[in-house]
Symmetry: C2
Subunit: 340 residues, 2 copies
C-alpha cells in the first residue's frame, strides 16, 4: 500500500510499504476514507528534530474497518469509524474521568501510518467510534476533521469553560483555531472574537460563528480585546498556536477569574509565575481527549448540524502529498485533504 514518509526537512515522499497487520488481540485494520496533514506535522517537516531514517507522519484517520483482532467487540468489519490521535482503552480511571488522551495505556497514532491507505489501530474497542450508518461521501472530510482538529478545538473551548453568555477570544487561525470558533458557537458563546489577519481565514471564522475579527497581534491584540470587552478582557481565551507570544496574548486577554484553554503544542514556552499569579486566570490544556467528544461530534456531523471539514481548503490526490505539505507550510492552505 502507499504511505507518506518524511525523509528529511521539507522532503515528503509517497512510498510503497507493507500492509499493516493485526499484531495485538485488540487491534483493528482500517481502510482510510481519506488522509490529511495536520499543522503539528509541520514541526517535523520544518526540521525541528534531525531525521536520519524516513519517518511516519500524520495521526488523523477515519474509514472502514477491514479486520479486527479476536478480542474486539465494539466495532466490526464494514463499520465506518473515527478515532483519535491517541489510542486509548477507555476503561482506566483516567479515561473514565474524560482524559482518554492521557489513558494509562495510551498509544500515539503517530507511530502508525495514518497518512496511508490502511492503518492499524490498537485498543480498537476503546478508541474507535462507529458512525450510525455508512456516511455519504461528502461527510468524509467532516468526519476526518473530528479525528483531531475539531476535537482539539472543542477541547480548547471546554478547557476555557466556554458557555452561554460568555465572551470568547480565539488566538490562532489555523484549522484548530477556526474549529475552536465553531466549538465556541456550538457551546453557546455569546460573543466570539477571532484573531486573524488572513482574509480567507477571517471569512471562515465568520462562517463558523465569529462575531468580531481582530487583526492585531501581541500587545496590540490584547489592547484591542480589552477595548472590545469594557477593559476587562474575555471570559474564555482559546490558545491554538503554541508560542510564547500566543500564550501570553491568551493570558493577557482574559479577565480575572476567566479561563485559558490551550491546545497549541507548546514549544519553548515558559509561563512567568509572577504574572500568572497576579492575572487570576485559570489555565488548562494539553493533548485533547478527542475520544470523549467523538460520539457527540459524530452525531452533529451526520445530522448535518456542523461542517468542520470546511477547514480543508485544498484537496489533492494522495500521490501529491508533498505539495500538500508545501501549501500548508507556506500558509497557502489552511488544511490539505488527500484523496485516494
Amino acid at each position: 500500500m502507499r504511505a507518506v514518509k518524511l525523509y528529511g526537512a521539507g522532503d515528503v515522499r509517497v512510498d510503497e510499504v507493507p500492509m499493516p497487520t493485526i499484531r495485538e488481540v485488540g487491534d483493528a485494520i482500517i481502510k482510510l476514507a481519506a488522509a490529511c496533514v495536520c499543522g503539528s506535522d509541520l514541526w517535523a517537516y520544518r526540521g525541528v528534530d534531525p531525521i536520519n531514517d524516513p519517518v511516519t507522519v500524520g495521526h488523523e484517520y477515519c474509514g472502514v474497518v477491514q479486520e479486527v483482532g479476536p478480542s474486539v467487540k465494539n466495532v466490526k468489519p464494514g463499520d465506518f469509524v473515527v478515532g483519535s490521535f491517541f489510542a486509548s482503552d477507555n476503561t482506566c480511571e483516567i479515561c473514565r474521568s474524560g482524559y482518554q488522551s492521557g489513558c494509562l495505556d495510551r498509544r500515539g497514532m503517530g507511530a502508525e501510518n495514518c497518512q496511508a491507505e490502511y492503518v492499524r489501530v490498537p485498543l480498537a474497542d476503546g478508541t474507535l467510534v462507529a458512525t450510525p450508518r455508512m456516511p455519504e461521501p461528502d461527510l468524509v472530510p467532516h468526519l476526518l476533521a473530528a479525528s483531531d482538529v475539531l476535537g482539539t478545538g472543542w477541547f480548547a473551548a471546554k478547557a476555557a469553560e466556554v458557555g452561554p453568555g460568555k465572551t470568547v477570544a480565539v488566538i490562532g487561525d489555523g484549522a484548530v483555531g477556526l474549529l475552536g470558533v465553531l466549538a465556541a458557537k456550538e457551546l453557546g458563546a455569546e460573543r466570539i472574537i477571532a484573531m486573524s489577519r488572513h482574509e480567507s481565514r477571517q471569512k471562515l471564522a465568520l462562517e463558523f460563528g465569529a462575531t468580531d475579527i481582530v487583526a492585531e497581534r501581541g500587545d496590540e491584540g490584547v489592547a484591542r480585546i480589552k477595548e472590545l470587552t469594557g477593559g476587562l478582557g474575555v471570559h474564555s481565551a482559546l490558545e491554538a498556536v503554541g508560542t510564547q507570544e500566543s500564550m501570553m496574548q491568551a493570558i493577557r486577554s482574559t479577565r480575572r477569574g476567566g479561563h485559558v484553554g490551550f491546545v497549541g503544542v507548546l514549544h519553548g514556552v515558559n509561563i512567568p509565575g509572577g504574572e500568572f499569579f497576579m492575572s487570576h486566570v485559570h489555565i488548562h490544556g494539553g493533548p485533547a481527549p478527542v475520544r470523549d467528544y467523538l460520539p457527540d461530534l459524530i452525531a452533529r456531523i451526520v445530522e448535518r448540524r456542523i461542517e468542520p471539514g470546511k477547514v480543508f481548503d485544498l484537496e489533492l490526490p494522495f500521490d501529491e502529498a508533498a505539495e500538500a505539505y508545501r501549501a500548508m507550510d507556506e500558509r497557502r492552505a489552511i488544511k490539505a485533504l488527500l484523496t485516494f
Copy 2:
C-alpha cells in the same frame, strides 16, 4: 499610636506614628483587636528589595470600628469587623464574579499600618464584614486568621476544586498550607496528604484533618504521593509555598485532569510549557478573594466549628514585634500573634 516599621533587612521596630484619619468618604478607622505577622511579610524582612525609608508591614486585621466616613452604610462604630488584605468595592463586575482581590478599584492594605493599634480601611462598605455580635476574646485569633491565611488556604482549596471524594495534597506547612488542610477537610475531601517534615506542623495538620503525612520533598515527595494514589496522583494539589520546586511538585503530584490551586506568592518561578501541556492539569491561583469567603468563614468561627487561630503558636506583646519576625524567619514559630 504604635505601629511596626521595617527599617531594613532584619530590622523591625515599633514606632510612634500619627493616628490614621478618614481621608475618603468610604473609609473606616478600626481599633485592632490584635495584630500578626504573615509569611509573606518575611520576603521584605529578608531583604528581597532594598529599603531606604522605614516601610509599613502587615496586611491582616480585625477589630472594632471607631469612625466611618460619610458614605459608609454597611458598618458602624462599635461593630467588630474583619477585612481582607485587598480592600475592594464588592460591586464591580470582577468583584461580583467572586474575585474581589482583583477589584477594579482595589487597594492593597499593605500600604496602611495593619501591624498597629489603629488602621484606616478604604472602601469600608465593600471590604469589611461585621461579626453577628461582639466576639468572645478567645475568638480573636481565629477571626484574625480569617483575614488572610484562612481565606488564602480556602482559596487554594477552591482553586484546586477540592470536594467530596477527592484526594488532596497540600504542599507547604506554613499557616496557609495548614489552613489549606483545614479548608480541604471542611470542603469534604476524602483524603488529605500534608507534606511536612516538622513534627509540630505535622501534628497541627493531623488536627486540622490530614489523613496522611509525607515528609519527602521534590521528586521524592512526588514519588511518595504517586505511591499513595495508585500511581495516578491526587485530584487536587494546594501549592502554598511559591518556589519553582514547590510548584513543580504540585503539578507533578496531580493526576491528569486534576487541579493545582496555588497561593504561594510566586518568586522567580517559570512554568515550563511543554511539561504543563503534557500534564493535563488545571492551574489556578493568585491573591485570594478572601472577601468572598468572609461571611462563611466568620460564621464557621463564631459557631465554633473551626479553630484556624491554632496556627498562632507564638503570642507576644506588641512591643516585641521584632522577636515575632525573628521567630518566624527562623521557623521557630508558624505564625506570631501580637497583642496590645
